[in-house]
């Protein structure tokens, strides 16, 4: 909770910085603030109490704090990566504020206890991102991305609101706890429009995590936005959206799971197939990562589908988010540095192992992790998903997940092959700032460490 407050005030400071001319100090202040937020978050974790604030509008229980931790840590790395991106820009302070407010929204999504907070969280997170997606001035693709994102996002918000309204109509409350008691007490006697509401919310949330068939915006938006904003969207936003889905469906609507599991299985199905086949055909690495993020979304949705209302499935989701976030930060960090010249196709990576061996190595490890090869973090993430799924009646989804994982290996390897095997076509070296190298190296090391001792992390996130 204190983390949420700190980051909100950081956002305000960033807006005021324009007036008080402390632009230079903004980055250090933000980083310090994030460290403080993380530390306070960690202390709350240590205390182990779950406290609700503001008349039960938000509540920081253990899963919420765990997800917040991942988001704050990712944000910290992201700001370091982004330092020179901000420098080039004249509207520095606005950008800072927008990103910080997006993070505030994400934190609200991890901890909402009430449908209104959920809606507020989604809007606070999304609106800055619409602006940021379009922030590459004069680039038509970026404008298109922002516009598309806005339209699609508003659609999803409308669905969400409608769903909330229907559910409110049935049970007379926005409170998650009360909704689940309503379901428990009225079993068999629930009006049809309640289920319609649940479906609408499911659709809206799937929009946000870009699961197929609601994914059409994702590749264009990911490609058009500035690379770092794409990194933000595919890490922090994804993690937050999944935390929200988990809360909504595993706590709120768990009682009516028979209504939504079938549809969700279908969505996962489509996501796995469409995402992996499309990713395999992409030439642009950024688009490839966009599709791959859809496939990872399908994996995380599987955990929700398994609906083991025990710790295992929350564990699995937290671990997956962590592994995916750090893997993506590495991948996008490398991508950002490699594609400075503007060429975002896979041949930009040709011969990277000669031009910058360190960057190539980090990228290779990130790709192996995203493909789920042991002993990287991505492997254990997949492993946890498999273990939660194997106890359910959706075993056929597992087989599909394996088949599509093999396709996944194909397109991740394509990057590795380009780096190590294709001859140089670009300029000789890739200049990388020390701070960027540091972040990329830290996240790479984390990928391996978490892969080598998943027990340590699993221990940490025991609920």
């Amino acid at each position: 909770m204190k983390g949420l407050l700190i980051i909100s005030s950081l956002g305000l400071v960033a807006m005021l910085a324009e007036i008080f001319k402390v632009k230079k100090l903004l980055l250090p202040i933000t980083l310090l603030g994030l460290v403080a937020a993380y530390a306070l978050n960690f202390l709350e974790w240590k205390n182990g109490m779950s406290i609700s604030y503001f008349d039960n509008m938000v509540g920081f229980d253990k899963p919420a704090i765990a997800f917040s931790g991942i988001i704050i840590a990712t944000a910290f790395f992201w700001f370091i990566l982004a330092n020179d991106y901000f420098e080039k820009d004249s509207n520095l302070t606005d950008h800072f504020a927008l990103v910080l407010f997006a993070i505030v929204g994400s934190l609200m999504l991890t901890s909402f206890k009430n449908m209104t907070t959920l809606f507020l969280g989604i809007e606070i997170m999304s609106i800055p991102l619409y602006v940021l997606a379009a922030s590459k001035k004069g680039d038509i693709k970026s404008h298109e991305a922002g516009f598309k994102y806005l339209i699609m996002g508003s659609f999803a918000s409308a669905f969400l609101l409608f769903g909330i309204a229907l559910i409110y109509g049935a049970c007379g409350s926005f409170d998650l706890g009360e909704i689940s008691t309503y379901i428990a007490s009225k079993s068999g006697d629930i009006p049809l429009f309640f289920y319609v509401g649940v479906m609408m919310m499911l659709i809206a949330m799937c929009f946000k995590v870009s699961a197929a068939p609601f994914h059409f915006w994702a590749p264009d938006v990911y490609e058009g936005s500035p690379t770092l904003i794409t990194a933000l969207m595919s890490t922090i936003v994804k993690t937050a959206a999944f935390a929200a889905i988990m809360r909504l469906f595993l706590i709120g609507f768990a009682g009516v799971s028979e209504v939504w599991t079938g549809i969700l299985a279908l969505i996962i199905d489509l996501s796995l197939i469409i995402a992996n086949f499309s990713a395999a055909m992409q030439n642009s690495v950024k688009r490839m990562l966009a599709y791959s993020s859809i496939s990872h979304a399908a994996f995380m949705l599987m955990v929700i589908l398994a609906n083991v209302r025990s710790n295992i499935s929350i564990d699995a989701l937290v671990y997956y988010s962590l592994a995916y976030s750090i893997g993506s930060i590495t991948a996008f960090g490398v991508l950002y540095n490699v594609t400075r010249g503007g060429n975002e196709n896979i041949d930009a990576f040709n011969g990277l192992s000669k031009r910058n061996p360190l960057l190539a190595l980090c990228m290779a490890i990130a790709m192996l992790s995203l493909a789920g090869i042991p002993v990287t973090a991505g492997f254990f993430a997949k492993y946890f998903v498999f273990t939660t799924m194997i106890g359910t009646s959706f075993k056929w989804l597992l087989i599909l997940a394996i088949l599509t994982s093999a396709i996944g290996a194909y397109y991740y390897l394509k990057v590795i092959i380009a780096m190590y095997f294709k001859p140089n076509t670009e300029q000789q070296t890739v200049p990388v700032e020390t701070s960027n190298t540091a972040v990329i190296m830290i996240t790479t090391i984390l990928t391996v460490v978490i892969g080598l001792s998943p027990g340590f992390i699993a221990q940490m996130f025991k609920f």
């Binding site: 194997i390 394996i402 994982s405 093999a406 095997f421 998943p454 027990g455 221990q459």
Partner: protein
Amino acid sequence: MLIVLLILFPLLASLILFFSKTSNSRNLALFFASVEFVLSLVVFLQYKSNPGSAQLSYSCEWVESLRINFSVGVDGLSLLMVLLSTFLVPIILLTSFKNTYENSHNFYGLILLMQMALVGVFVANDGFLFYVFWELALIPIYFICLLWGGENRGVITFKFFIYTLFGSLFMLIGLIYLYNHTNLDGMKSWAVQDLYDAGRSLSASQQGAVFWLIFIAFAIKMPIFPFHTWQPDTYVVAPTQGTMLLSGIMLKMGTFGTIKWLLPMVPLGLEKWGGTAVGLSVIGIIYASIIAISQKDFKRLIAYSSIAHVGLISAGILSANQQGIQGAIMQMLAHGVNVVGLFFIADILLRHTGTREIDKLGGIRNMNGNFAVLFLIVLLGSVALPLTNGFIGEFLLINGVYQYSSMMAAFAGLTVILGAVYMLRSYQNIMLGERKDSNLSFGALAASDKAVLIIICTVIIAFGVYPKPLNDLAEQGAKTIIELMK
């Protein structure tokens, strides 16, 4: 602790090589690999004197919450496999002395990394650990083939990687399924013994499903017909040392896995589906032999002959009787040594004459008699002549398959005849007669080449004449498995 050292030492050695960047990396690698071989001999002696020694097994917690242990140990079977790989790796390194590779420190580092994963696969006593080493072995060999391979390696190694990864994931699901059925004082467990128990508690149809989930991974690795399509291309395109690792040792991961991680786990599944699997293996023997006969490239011919050999091995294993399994173990050792020898000969031919095309060679015996003799010995080992190392294994294998089904044995036995046909014919075309191309010349062998061939030939003859020490271990290993299956 000794056994942990056996895994850690090559890992450490490979790291040293990666970072040393010395130009002398191959000598350094050879030194490390020899030390590793000596270490494995120490383990062997320990095992001989006291099989229950605490030095020979080790266990500690790796991921406590998932009950995954770093648990390793040797028995007769795994000890033989460890010996095979620690013996072959120095030989393989020695074969590279006449080739120069770019960035050789990475090349040799990857080979040693591969050795670490292979030894890990053979000694793992924890299902999860086994899987991790199994997957880990794929990464170095993939890079070896990708970075130092021949023409068109991008596409081919791709296929190889994805094919094997695909199989492994099925195995993972099979293992997780078994893990979910383990029950050790109310907790789950990854220990091999508990997985055996879990497997046996399943119903016949469940066991059948697990059988296929796990067997597919092994079948792809070996490879068994119809999962073999990655193999010939990959073998041909890989650098010689990569081919040797793939065929000499990595192939044995599949057969070893079938013996240790499949047979005792799902006896009912085996009963139900074993016949089909043996059938596929036998089809593979005949199919690969016939294709081998018509091959023009000698290296490709050996690749197909390897499919035929491994088909017989897997038929023997799946027959699941004492002779079959014992023969399979013996044949795995013999095939490992012989196939490395054959691939090396293909490499020597290419280096001296610039071609591996059987039809373009000829009359080499007149130019280099020593080479002709050494080649002949390796070849006779490969066609399993009595008094060579290949004989005892093949004999036991056919015996084992015969006990399972005389019909299958009749077809499997064709391998003896067909093997002789393609091997002797290629020898005749390559070595005997007059040279077909007047430009063809074949000088004296280099010292390191000669050393390798002489070592291999010595092993072929020595263990053909006196197979007892290995055979005792193999017999014991087979007995343990048969016991477990009851």
